[in-house]
């Protein structure tokens, strides 16, 4: 729990993007696009570098909160400004800063209207996301969780596709609906902790303190239900996923990258951070049902993806399928499953983020995403074809790339839990390969069927530049995942240990 750097690095990290928004608002004018873009780039790169600074001081052998910053915020109701980082959140933080930076760069050539608002919103969104992962106080967590909604709404609604208004308000309402029910769960935990039979006797919003609360099963079930809705909608878990295809398709490229890369992880982060440690018996009770929903999501998502004619929508449904894997791994509740799930969260962020970037590139050139409009692109854009191939294989889970490590661990965990979980999940992998390879064949191979495609330019230097970090990570995690796994080990072991806690005696109430 030491802050060896001597500076409040987490606060700096969290609010640097917000400072960027203010800088853009105050120091630039509407007609200075280059200046706006430069400021945005500087702040997002600075945030990324700052997040890298945490790594050397991060201790991998402890599950305690590190780099803790803690001051009272609203003492009247016991709310604290409490930031901390541990094995569960560190990789997600790095993913967030990396993808935000890449999304920023990818937007430079695409967004031409109302740049101030756009880059301001992107940066504000980054603050919200980092705050969610860093908060160790429930009210602070909830504040950042909701703060994310408004910039995302604007990103989809102002710079999105043709049906953007519908998609934006659907995203906003769906997510808000889940969040407000989660608020009631948070309040319930607060007051229940004030009862000496369950908690410390003083009501608190402090998350590490609430890890020790012991509630009887029937109370846990209700609170789990309220949290579940909020997180399941974010994941998205079948059948709460219907907002996702619209939001992803209508959002601008950078919006989709952030949405798929980071926002979806918040749901699974919520499950592993809150539901498993605080409500272990309820988690075990609901695990079979949630695993079934996850499996349905895996297969259903894959089948629907296969039927799509719009590349972006196909990728959106593939997200549903992939995140079904993550949820399956989490609720297998064994070491392999949870580790695989956590790693797969990062992997999905990298590969699906890359996929959306690639789709964006081709959309920028042809202004269409329909598969039938393409064909034979590999002849015209070889570099693009290579990048797409690597990303595709990463998404499928080919050994050697990152997807395989995560999926293998999840399958191992699922197999240890129930044999048929793994059996169904494996079919999902096969289907995943099917739709991805078929997509690649239709878009890249064969003859160039449309005249417009003959004159397409290959990837520009900038495009290759922002894809490189993602490609490097795909290989790195695929070939040598140990450093990444080691960051998470201690916290995952601690979470699993709290799942084995003896249950609350039922004669109390």
């Amino acid at each position: 729990m030491t802050n060896i750097l001597g500076i409040p690095i987490l606060t700096l990290l969290c609010f640097l993007p917000l400072a960027g928004t203010l800088a853009i608002a105050i120091c630039t004018k509407k007609d200075q696009p280059e200046r706006i873009k430069n400021i945005a780039l500087v702040f997002s790169v600075a945030t990324f570098l700052l997040s890298l600074l945490i790594l050397p001081g991060f201790k991998t052998d402890t599950a305690e909160m590190q780099f803790v910053e803690r001051t009272p915020w609203i003492s009247a109701i016991g709310v604290e400004y409490f930031l901390g980082i541990d094995g569960i959140s560190i990789l997600l933080i790095l993913l967030t800063t990396l993808l935000s930076m890449i999304a920023m760069v990818a937007s430079f050539s695409v967004i031409t209207d109302r740049l101030k608002e756009y880059y301001g919103s992107l940066l504000m969104l980054e603050t919200g996301m980092l705050g969610v992962f860093l908060s160790m106080d429930f009210v602070l967590f909830y504040v950042f969780w909701e703060v994310m909604l408004v910039p995302m709404y604007f990103l989809i609604g102002m710079w999105g596709g043709s049906n953007r208004l519908y998609a934006a308000i659907k995203f906003f309402l769906y997510t808000l609906f889940g969040s407000v029910l989660m608020l009631l769960g948070i309040l319930a935990l607060y007051f229940l902790n004030g009862d000496p039979a369950f908690g410390t006797g003083i009501p608190t919003f402090n998350i590490p303190t609430l890890f020790n609360i012991r509630l009887p099963l029937h109370m846990q079930l209700w609170i789990f239900a309220s949290f579940f809705l909020g997180f399941a909608i974010k994941v998205p878990l079948f059948p709460f996923h219907t907002w996702l295809p619209d939001a992803h398709v209508e959002a601008p490229t950078a919006g989709s990258v952030i949405l798929a890369g980071v926002l979806l992880k918040m749901g699974t982060y919520g499950f592993v951070r809150f539901c498993l440690p605080i409500l272990p018996e309820a988690s075990k009770f609901f695990a079979p049902g949630i695993a079934v929903l996850a499996l349905i999501g895996i297969v259903y998502g894959a089948l629907v993806a296969m039927a799509q004619t719009d590349i972006k929508k196909l990728v959106a449904y593939s997200s549903v399928s992939h995140l079904g894997f993550v949820v399956l791994g989490l609720f297998a509740m064994n070491s392999a499953g949870v580790t695989g799930a956590m790693l797969q969260m990062i992997n999905h962020g990298i590969s699906t983020g890359a996929l959306f970037l690639l789709v964006g590139m081709v959309y920028e050139r042809r202004h269409t995403r329909k598969i039938q409009e393409f064909g034979g692109l590999a002849h015209v854009m070889p570099v693009y074809a290579v990048l797409f191939a690597i990303t595709m294989f990463s998404s499928i889970g080919l050994p050697g790339l990152n997807g395989f490590v995560g999926e293998f661990l999840i399958l191992l965990g699922a197999f240890q839990k129930e044999l048929w979980y793994a059996a169904v999940a494996v079919s999902g992998i096969v289907l995943g390969a099917a739709y991805m390879l078929w997509l690649y064949q239709r878009v890249m191979f064969g003859n160039v069927t449309h005249a417009e495609n003959k004159t397409l330019k290959d990837c520009t230097r900038r495009e290759v530049l922002y894809m490189i970090p993602l490609i490097v990570l795909m290989f790195w995690i695929g070939i040598y995942p140990k450093p990444y796994l080691r960051l998470m080990e201690a916290s995952i072991a601690n979470t699993l240990e709290s799942l084995q806690k003896p249950a609350q005696a039922t004669e109390l109430l």
Binding site: V180, L184, F191
Partner: protein, 495 residues
């Protein structure tokens, strides 16, 4: 025979005295005053509000026990006086431009606003029902006239008449409730009633108590426009001049809520089983109906009327919980809500031009491009009313829901949060118009508003500042609300 004059500490009444004197000057001496300077009248009104706030805050540490029979100056009263004076001051700030555009600036307007405020200040300081009724009627009559201010406009006259007829009838109902309570307890004084009601045992008297409760709920429910006593509000807010609608929706609601809390916690505090469930049902109905009815509105003033009906529903959640937490949540929320509410009415004033007062959602189209700062402020106001962090509205709603959950009203809290989600639909419609729709008029002449008003700009800045600051650092407000409630809470028995 010598005349014994009562020993009235006039300094306790300074806020009311200042406002009354200013109102009289403004009404009777408007001709000479207006000749001095065009802004003389509104400036005098505004300054007197600020001075009155100063005097009120001065009373915080002083305790006037001799006056306690009729007129209280405890922390609770001072808190609400300050809130009400802020409401008046903001209303005057936004009225200036509106009256210039509609060419209707007369001394009577500012005078009536000040007099209505005097009524509200008296109401919240009432220690017995006579004083409360006195303040109530002063506020009401001034409001009726203000609602009908545009005599020649059909809608305004209709609004005024409707408000007057229903309001007069309502005053009768309240009076009857008070009379029944007098019959049951034998006194008008609230503090005395508390101990009498606690020990009431005769079945006849308990029946009288019960009936008086019904009448008072109905009567005051009308004043705060709770469902099912809300029918007058949309029509009156739509017809009344925009700043008057702002004043009514914030001022009379806040004052009435202050009185309601005092009455229910002090007089009926020991028999909460009688009224808590009623208030809970009314709160649920109000939240649900207010939000659903607002969904179809295209006239912003009607939309804001239903929105303020719904907001009152959330506040009734706090009252229904019957705890200190609940009531201090209501105190906080009245302060927080007024800024966003008046802010939205101010945005209508901002959009209005000479000869056309703007009231439709479509009038907001393209505001994001034309006036980005104003559009940003309006967005923050809307987010505050929905209850999204980091605005003050989130803190207010959070505390209200916290109180509801603490008191065990889980289902009510669920209704409340779901109602908040429904409210997103109609609040965001304005945001969509501002940012995602093209402006209907594009010529330069139409783009810039006539009569650019710096006072309106100050008002916007102040409201934006308060909402964002309280949203990020609400601690002092929490403590203030708790402290203000302590003088009332010590009398009641709950919690």
């Amino acid at each position: 025979m010598s005349l014994v004059l009562p020993n009235i500490p006039l300094s306790a009444l300074l806020p009311e005295i200042v406002l009354t004197i200013s109102a009289c000057i403004i009404i009777f001496l408007q001709r000479p005053f207006a000749k001095v300077h065009t802004h003389a009248l509104s400036s005098l009104a505004f300054v007197s509000c600020i001075v009155a706030i100063g005097f009120a805050m001065n009373l915080w540490n002083i305790n006037y026990s001799e006056f306690m029979q009729h007129f209280l100056t405890d922390h609770y009263a001072i808190y609400f006086k300050s809130v009400l004076l802020i409401i008046s001051a903001l209303t005057i700030l936004i009225s200036k431009r509106f009256l210039a555009i509609t060419k209707a600036e007369r001394g009577e307007y500012y005078g009536l606003i000040l007099l209505a405020t005097v009524g509200m200040l008296t109401m919240v300081s009432g220690a017995d029902f006579i004083t409360i009724y006195l303040g109530l009627e002063t506020m009401a009559i001034a409001s009726y006239i203000l609602a009908a201010y545009f005599r020649s406009d059909e809608r305004s006259s209709e609004a005024g008449l409707k408000y007057f007829l229903l309001g007069a009838f309502n005053s009768g109902i309240i009076l009857y409730g008070m009379a029944l309570l007098y019959g049951a307890t034998g006194t008008f004084n609230l503090a005395e009633m508390h101990s009498i009601v606690a020990g009431l045992s005769e079945p006849g008297k308990i029946q009288l108590l019960y009936f008086s409760l019904i009448f008072l709920i109905a009567g005051f429910g009308f004043k705060i426009a709770a469902v099912p006593f809300h029918m007058w509000a949309p029509d009156v807010y739509e017809g009344a001049p925009t700043p008057v609608a702002a004043f009514l929706s914030s001022g009379s609601k806040t004052a009435s809520l202050a009185v309601i809390i005092r009455i229910f916690l002090v007089v009926f505090g020991t028999v909460s089983a009688l009224w808590q469930l009623w208030i809970a049902y009314i709160a649920a109905l109000t939240m649900i109906f207010g939000n659903i009815a607002a969904l179809r509105q295209t006239n912003v003033k009607r939309l804001l009327a239903y929105s303020s009906i719904a907001q009152v529903g959330y506040m009734l959640l706090g009252l229904a919980s019957g705890t200190t937490m609940g009531s201090s949540a209501v105190l906080m929320y009245t302060f927080i809500y007024l800024f966003a509410n008046i802010g939205l009415f101010a945005s209508l004033v901002f959009l209005s031009k000479e000869g056309e007062t703007k009231e439709a959602v479509s009038d907001f189209s393209g505001l994001g491009r034309r006036h980005p700062l104003v559009a940003f402020a309006i967005t923050i106001f809307l987010l505050s009313l929905i209850g999204i962090p980091p605005t003050a509205g989130f803190i207010g709603k959070f505390y209200l829901f916290m109180a509801a959950v603490n008191a065990g009203y889980i289902k009510l809290a669920v209704v409340g949060v779901l109602a908040s989600v429904i409210s997103v639909f109609y609040y965001m419609r304005i945001v969509v118009a501002m940012y995602m729709e093209k402006s209907a008029v594009e010529t330069e002449k139409d783009l810039s508003p006539s009569h650019p008003s710096t006072t309106l700009g100050y008002a916007f800045s102040l409201m934006l500042f308060v909402i964002l600051t309280v949203g990020v650092y609400p601690g002092p407000l929490f403590d203030l609300a708790r402290e203000s409630l302590s003088s009332v809470a010590s009398v009641k028995v709950l919690d």
